[in-house]
Symmetry: C2
Subunit: 326 residues, 2 copies
């Protein structure tokens, strides 16, 4: 098997130059670079990091499985994961599962066969059983008690949102909850119910996917039947933007006639008119923490499985009123 | 070196079962799955796809280098790339370059060392010289005449946008162009200039990054100095949303007093009030075509380098007027 010395000799450069090239740790001129690449090809030289992958069955690749990068929550999350991975010398493989258990399973197995060092998984599948024997961190959603998870305190966030609506005068509330297979969505419903408990508030609960057009359609239909609703807690910013569109369509004034609070704190929520009052998750910190937890596992530094819960924050903007009730 | 037969024997299953497991081509029960994984570990078995990576220096990994997944144009693009890659049996590695030449170069070299089969690159760096000897396709932006590129017909799009503003009565136009290092941004400026040529239109040209907050700030300052502007062509939807926010802030009625046309056709542009008239790139087709072109190169089926230019489309919504001038 060819060594780094053979490559240096054939390329007519020093071993230090080849090492700089392989480790990307300093300047290598264009001519030397070409000569080194030619020598590597001709000698079939396998650099250490690939050799290491084979002998230890471990690479510096991290798999990131999310439902859909097009949902505006996930680009911000993916960015945090990649930034953190980059800092620790890892590279990220992106996989979109479409909330489809079969596609998710396919990716998990495909990633294992590529000897990724670990996987960050945002799965919808509660009670998930591990089929693969590599480090996994669950992100945004708990999937199994054996798998460490990083998520937002969803119950607290929903309570903050609902209390804010009530405090500023809403008396008939709609909770536009998310899909029931998502634990985070059920926790947000729990927080909503906790906030209204014992208060004289009329409530409605309906479900919508986290998708602009669907949320708009569902809200229009429901508000037409129940025009006295004066506050909506939407379980995601994407749904809340759908709600805002529904109100525009129906000629309902926001926040004068109806107040809206979203959940997530995606960047774009600030740029609507009126701008969206929302429960901001610390999306970057979620991604960063999950990646650090995974790397700790990969490097054998994590002793116990643990769940990390990050508190969200109420950001008051223009879809809720400025003056308190009474 | 262990073979698939050794694995089957030790796991006490058939070779066909191991093969199904490795190729993910059919059902393998939980018990067999565990036995196969145990045998693979104990025998240090290297499946064919990893062995192939070593012997041919080629994997089924594709690198995707983009400026920033948080810019809403790129999630839609990344999704198309991943869907297409998945269809052809490839997996995508996501890298954010932050428009930084050094980070881009780092990723290109890191990907080459991981023996990716090819790279899809959205680079800002014109006159790009290849440092690495693997298939590359340029996406959204031409980088070198030797590298095949897939992009939108930006000149045509900007012409459509500008003509639409003029046709519906705008007489003093601002072109809020994008960063000058982007060829696509310069082409959109070219289309704008082509559309106003020979017409009695007063024009202004200023630059803004493709970023909500910056575009808003720059537009507010400029409109305060030039209140007679009655039409803005923004070089991206993200800038156009910043312009829309600037108009709200200044109390300028859109489209009655000022019309806006964006560029890109990102999904969210439809959900603003007023909804954004824009030049829609076929983002999904761009990503799909680039991936197919790359895979053709990888598989040796592409004979000549070629550029593919996809026509964009004007989508008339609510930031432009309904009635023609005169």
């Amino acid at each position: 098997m060819a060594t780094i010395h053979d490559v240096a000799k054939r390329a007519n450069v020093s071993v230090a130059t080849v090492s700089r090239y392989l480790n990307e740790s300093g300047y290598v001129g264009g001519k030397s670079r070409k000569a080194i690449e030619k020598a590597i090809r001709e000698l079939n030289y396998v650099p250490n990091n690939v050799a290491r992958t084979l002998s230890t069955k471990q690479s510096n690749l991290i798999g990131l499985i999310i439902p859909d990068i097009k949902n505006p929550f996930f680009p911000e999350l993916a960015r945090a994961v990649e930034d953190t991975a980059y800092k620790y010398g890892y590279t990220v493989i992106l996989c979109n599962s479409d909330e489809n258990a079969k596609k998710e399973q396919h990716y998990l197995q495909a990633l294992t066969l590529k000897y990724v060092a670990g996987v960050i998984l945002t799965s919808t599948h509660e009670g998930y059983k591990r089929h693969v024997d590599i480090p996994i961190v669950a992100l945004d959603r708990v999937i199994d008690e054996e798998i460490p998870a990083v998520m937002t305190n969803n119950v607290l966030g929903a309570e903050l949102a609902t209390n804010h609506l009530i405090q500023f005068g809403a008396t008939e509330l709609l909770c536009l909850k998310g899909p029931k297979q998502l634990i985070s969505s059920e926790e947000r419903l729990k927080g909503f119910l906790k906030a209204i408990e014992g208060k004289n508030i009329k409530t409605h609960i309906i479900e919508s996917p986290y998708e602009f057009e669907q949320a708009k359609k569902i809200t229009i239909e429901y508000l037409q039947k129940h025009p006295s609703i004066d506050g909506i807690f939407a379980s995601s910013d994407v749904s809340a933007i759908g709600v805002l569109n529904a109100c525009n369509k129906l000629g309902i004034k926001v926040p004068e006639e109806l107040q809206i609070v979203g959940f997530d704190g995606i960047e774009i929520s600030e740029f609507f008119t009126p701008s969206l009052t929302t429960i901001a998750q610390n999306i970057y910190e979620l991604g960063e923490t999950a990646t650090e937890l995974l790397i700790q596992q990969i490097e054998g530094k994590l002793l116990n499985n643990q769940n990390i819960c990050i508190d969200p924050e109420l950001i008051v903007r223009e879809t809720t009123r400025k003056e308190q009730k009474g």
